[in-house]
Each structure stands twice: as C-alpha cells, then as structure tokens.
Amino acid sequence: MNEFFIRLSRIDRRYIFLFVAVSVIIPLLYPLHYPTRVTRHTRAVFDIVDQIPPDSNPILISFEYGPSTMPECHPMAYAILRHSFARKVRVIGITLSADATGLGEEAMQTIAREYDREYGRDYVFLGYKPGVTAVMLSIGEDLKRTFPRDYYGRPTSEIPMLVEVHNYEQIPLVIPLTGSATATFWLIYAGARYHARVADGVTAVMASELYAYLQTKQLSGMLAGLKGAAEYEHLVRSAGYTLSEGRASRGMDALSTLHLVIILFIILGNIGFFLSRRAAGKGPRS
C-alpha cells in the first residue's frame, strides 16, 4: 500500500496533463451548473451600476486586455454591459491597449444588439489612445479633447450622449477591465487626482495586489478573475436582466473541476512524500 502512495508522488507529467485536459473539456461540453456564492467585492460593483439612474450620465469601461487574458476579462465586459444596457445605463467604451480594440468593440456591439441599444444615444466607443497614464489624466481635464473623434471617425462633440460629459465629474463609475498594472494607475491618476469612482475587473493573479485599495475604499469594488465574472453573471441573471447563462459561469465549471483535480494531485503528492520520507527514516525539517 505504502509503495502505491509513494509511486503516486512520482506520477509522469503526461498523466497530469491528461487529467487536466479531461477536467476542463468535460464541464465545457456538459455544464455541471455548480452553485455560485457572490463575494462582497463583486456585489459592490453590481450595486453601484444598479443604482445609476437610467438614461443619466454614462459609466466608462476601459478595455485593456488582449487575447491572452480574454477568457477572464471578456465575460466581465459582457456581464457589465448586459447589466448596464438592460437598465438603460449609458456606456462610454475606450481602450488603452491596442490589442483590446477589436475585443472591446465586439463586446459593445454584440450586447447593444441584444438589448436594442442605439449608438451615440445609449453607448459610444472611442477606441484606442496610446499614452496610458496621460490618457487617464487627460480625461480628467477634458474627455472630448482627449478623444476628438470616436472609433468610427465621428467628432465626439456631435455625439448626443457626450454633450453633457466633460470629465470624470460627469462619469459616475470607471471600470477598467485589465490584466496589467493599469488597474492601479486608474486608482492613482483618475481616483486620487480627480476623485473618480473606480471599480476594477482584473485577472485572478492581479487581484491580490488590489486588496490594500479595497480596504482603504479607494477601490469601490472588484471582479477578481473568471470567478468574479461568473459571480457578476449570476447577479445579473438573478435580477432578471438576462436569461443567458454566460461564458464565465460555464468556464467556472471547468475551472472549479480543474482546481479539484490539482488539489487531489497535491494531496496525493504529499502523502507519497511523507511515506517515502518515513521509509527513508527522515521526519519533516523545521
């Protein structure tokens, strides 16, 4: 028996790869519909968007993710846009990463069609602007001078929903969706300098860096990785704003199963490790 566990601590990596592949593919093909528990940081973002009056000042979503972090951030964009468009909350879309231009535009157009929202009245996409921090600061001075034209070449001064929007003072919430350090830059440059209310949607690896800002309330809320996106989807669905399950919820089934498989391998590895040390007459080092 001991020999069996010791062998389990030296499993060939190809078998691990096989288990990983199976644990991801099966839940994607046959959704398991695991229940979701919503964290307070996700609920905080939902509540802010939920309290913005319909057809009032727009929220700003900054798409800052590329195809590599798309599986985590794109479902967040879909869920927040569904929530906003269902409640007739206006949305300004920008990107600070060239990679994200196509993705951001696709997300806005897709969800706008789903809720029959009109470009220029309910939403606007201003496209990509290089300079990251300079753009964040410049929006604080004048949005329309920072983006003189939208993504399609139309002067922003002629777009109806932007007539009353000059800077962060008219934007009730800024939501950067990112897998990079720009999540913190928004807090420093838009939040601290211009008192903009910021809620981040970040990849899971980025989330641990932002807890300090959540505690100080500089960050109003946070969607952390695919889990955060799935929680937001759950809230949007529970509130009756959509009937569709959403990409993150389906992805979360696969991710949860994968986590369980990894946990199982770690347990097996440690049992084997202890048994092999005991067999060799060594205890754990302090």
């Binding site: 499993i11 990596r13 691990i16 790869f17 288990f19 990983v20 991801v24 695991y34 229940p35 979701t36 528990r37 964290t39 590329g66 195809p67 590599s68 798309m70 599986p71 060239a98 231009t101 196509g102 993705l103 696709e106 157009q109 602007k129 290089p130 300079g131 990251v132 300079a134 410049s138 001075e141 004048d142 001078r145 920072t146 399609y152 899971a204 989330a207 641990s208 807890y211 300090a212 959540l214 505690q215 889990k227 799935a230 089934d253 949860s256 994968l258 986590h259 369980l260 498989v261 990894i262 946990i263 391998f265 770690i266 590895g269 440690n270 490790f273 202890f274 754990p284 080092r285 302090s286």
Partner: protein, 207 residues
C-alpha cells in the same frame, strides 16, 4: 548641447508637472491639459519607434540567417500581412483585418496562455510539498485559496471562503502594502534623480 537640451526639457517638465498640482489657476490648468495631449502624441511616436525596432531586429536575424531566423521571418510576414489588411480594408467589424484578428490572433494567443494551465498543474503537484514549516504554511494557504475558488465549496462551506478572504485581506494585504510602499518610494527617488539630471540612463548612450 545634445545632452543639455533634453536634460533642460526634462527638468522644466518635471518641475512644472509637480508644481501645477498645487496651483489651481485656470491658465496653469490649460498648460497642464496641453502638456497631457503632448504626452499622448509622444506616446504615439513610441509606437513608431517600437515598430522600427521590431523590423530592424528581426530583419537582421533573417539577413544573417541567425538561429531560429525562420520565426523572425514569420513575424515580419505577419506584420506585413496585417498592415496591408488594415490599410486596405480598415479595422471595422467584417473587414479582413478584423477577421484575421478574431479568428487567427485571438485563438493563437489564447491557446498559448491556456497551455499554462497544464504546466501550472504539473508544477503545483511537484512544488507544493510540506518539506519545511514555511513550505507547509505556503501549502496550506494555497490549498485554502484553491478550495475557496471552487464554486460549490464556497457555496456550501462559507467558512472556507471566510478564511481565504482573511488570508487575502490580512497577511497578503500587509505584505502587498509593504511592497507598494517600497515600490512607490523607489519610484519617487528615481523620478527626482531623473528630473535633476542625476540619473541619465533614459537618454541612452550606455551611461
């Protein structure tokens, strides 16, 4: 002259952007806003420089037939192909550029990132062993965090979620805050050195 002019511009801009923060006069705000737009223009030039650097680097590798030069050739061809598609058809939905981006670049880049899951699973299996007290602590916290990330565990065992949140909000935040203080004090010190011309590495020239 070649060094003095950039150093003077740097000193002037550095001091102005610092001082303007404390002067809410409308004329100062106007100069500041103009300065920010200049910054955006300069950032655009950086993209042109990056493009030039990419072409020079990979072009040299292809010309000299250096190791793995074929990958450099693919990079250059892809750059040329996407540029032609972009200039010829535009970048809006339905154009060739957009189709190439959504159906070639997005799946390729996502796949590259997705492969990480396999390596992380294999690495966790080998690395998370209770070899010492410190390793056991790391193992336990990783174990709890992974467990709380499983949807139904968080749902049926809220205490596990509460513990993992405590790990993130207390020990993790304390260390992150320490790191942040260090990073921002370092940034401040380096910025002052650059503004005063003590640190000149940004001008190139190897000094």
């Amino acid at each position: 002259m070649k060094r003095r002019i950039p150093l003077t511009i740097c000193l002037f801009c550095g001091l102005f952007f610092t001082i303007q923060f404390f002067i809410p006069h409308h004329q100062v705000r106007q100069v500041y806003a103009d300065g920010l737009r200049w910054l955006i223009v300069v950032a655009t030039f950086a993209i042109v420089m990056a493009l030039g650097s990419l072409i020079t680097h990979h072009g040299r590798k292809v010309r000299r037939r250096d190791k793995d030069w074929s990958y450099s050739l693919v990079t250059l061809l892809a750059l040329l192909g996407m540029s032609i598609a972009g200039f010829a058809t535009g970048t809006r939905p339905g154009t060739l550029f957009n189709k190439l981006f959504l159906n070639v670049q997005v799946p390729m880049q996502s796949t590259m990132f997705g492969i990480l899951a396999f390596y992380i699973a294999s690495a966790s299996y080998r690395a998370f062993r209770a070899r010492s007290k410190e390793a056991t602590l790391l193992l336990l916290s990783a174990f709890l965090l992974m467990l709380s990330a499983v949807s139904f565990i968080g749902y049926y065992f809220p205490r596990i979620t509460a513990i993992s949140e405590w790990l993130l909000m207390v020990p993790n935040m304390a260390s992150q805050r320490g790191i942040l203080f260090g990073v921002f004090l370092g940034t401040l010190a380096t910025s002052i050195k650059i503004i005063l011309g003590i640190e000149r590495g940004w001008m190139g020239g190897g000094r």
